[in-house]
Amino acid sequence: MSLKSLDPRITREGLPETHDASPLGEIHHWGTYEVFHQTKKGDRHIHVGSVHAPNPEMAYILAKEQFARRAPCVSLWVVKTTDVYQTNYRDEDMYENNPEKMYREAGGYKVMERINKYKKDHPQNK
């Protein structure tokens, strides 16, 4: 006897009624694709999420309805999630900024005072 359920997806699997764990094959477990969305030509593609799909063609048609149904879109990229290389969070301290290196940031430059002084001294150049 296989497991019967109100959910046809469960019934369809023909799972045994016993509780033996059996490994699911690849066909039951699609991988994921990362989806990138472009609002208008020339813009960057921006990462918007992921979809389950067995191959890029399927990923593309599924991504279209998930991520480009309402917002303006001219192009989508799909990339296999396993093809994305990422740094490890345990290394995240390498991104921290040294507070003594304020001169590397735009905010580190105090120029408004000088600009205002110039304006005051040269009213004709305003």
């Binding site: 959910d7 389950h52 799909a53 067995p54 063609e57 279209k64 998930q66 149904r69």
Partner: protein, 254 residues
């Protein structure tokens, strides 16, 4: 130019709108039950597109002097519906719904392509408006058919047997009307037989490329009758269910 034949146009509009309404309703029955979440959302969204297309055509009929779109959709007798048999069938297994989606939407995309140049300009405008939607629908259908045709023996066998089941029903899409000649002469629509020819030439390479064999058209009896108001046993229960709430109080404001 002579005045366009309004009865011929109305007949054409009812066929198209009723197909879209009924198939849209059928396909929406998958909502929440789709094979995977992403596909559930995509298929439901396309079902909604179908209802939107039918609304545009019912509105056009209303502009031609018929009743308002809600009344046309929810308050007509079964025999007044002009939909083909293909759209009436219950959703069955997903392979059936996908095959129906493939066969129907490919014909619809070609039909709208023809109508984009129609001499009846409000219809030509609608046809052009939905071109993008249909491009996605056919891309979705083609991709799924290719996927299932090429995945494994089980999926190929299932999708092939759906094709064989659907094929005579799909030929019913092209049931000729009493107005074929008028529509063609007046440049409204080239005609169902013309469309069927284009459709067969369009789907054959797609099916072959998906590892499926196209049934023999000459030995296949098309399921006609829907366009004349003679329907399968599946339409009446669907209409009853679809109009259940509406009929409680047809005058209610929504």
């Amino acid at each position: 130019m002579n005045e366009l034949n309004k009865d011929a146009i109305r007949d054409l509009l009812y066929r198209m709108a009723d197909d879209q309404l009924i198939l849209g309703h059928r396909n929406s029955e998958w909502t929440g039950l789709g094979p995977i979440l992403e596909e559930d959302i995509a298929f439901s969204s396309m079902a909604q597109d179908k209802l939107g297309q039918s609304l545009a055509l019912y509105t056009l009929l209303h502009d031609l002097g018929d009743k308002d779109p809600d009344t046309l959709a929810f308050n007509r007798e079964e025999k007044d519906f002009k939909c083909c048999h293909l759209v009436e069938y219950p959703i069955g297994g997903y392979e059936f719904s996908l095959m129906r989606h493939f066969l129907f939407d490919s014909s619809e995309a070609l039909r709208f392509g023809m109508l984009a140049g129609s001499s009846f300009s409000p219809l030509a405008k609608i046809a052009r408006k939905f071109r993008g939607e249909l491009r996605y629908h056919t891309m979705h259908a083609d991709t799924w058919i290719r996927q299932l045709g090429g995945a494994n023996e089980e999926s190929r066998a299932k999708i092939q047997s759906s094709l064989e089941f659907c094929f005579p029903l799909a030929l019913g899409i092209f049931e000729p009307s009493d107005y074929e000649k008028t529509l063609a002469e007046q440049g409204v629509f080239p005609g169902e037989s013309e469309l069927q020819k284009e459709w067969l030439a369009h789907i054959e390479p797609l099916l072959a490329g998906s590892g499926l064999s196209m049934p023999d058209v000459s030995s296949c009896k098309p399921s006609y009758g829907g366009r004349k108001g003679r329907h399968t046993e599946h339409l009446k229960p669907l209409l009853d269910e679809m109009t259940e709430v509406y009929k409680i109080d047809p005058s209610a404001e929504w």
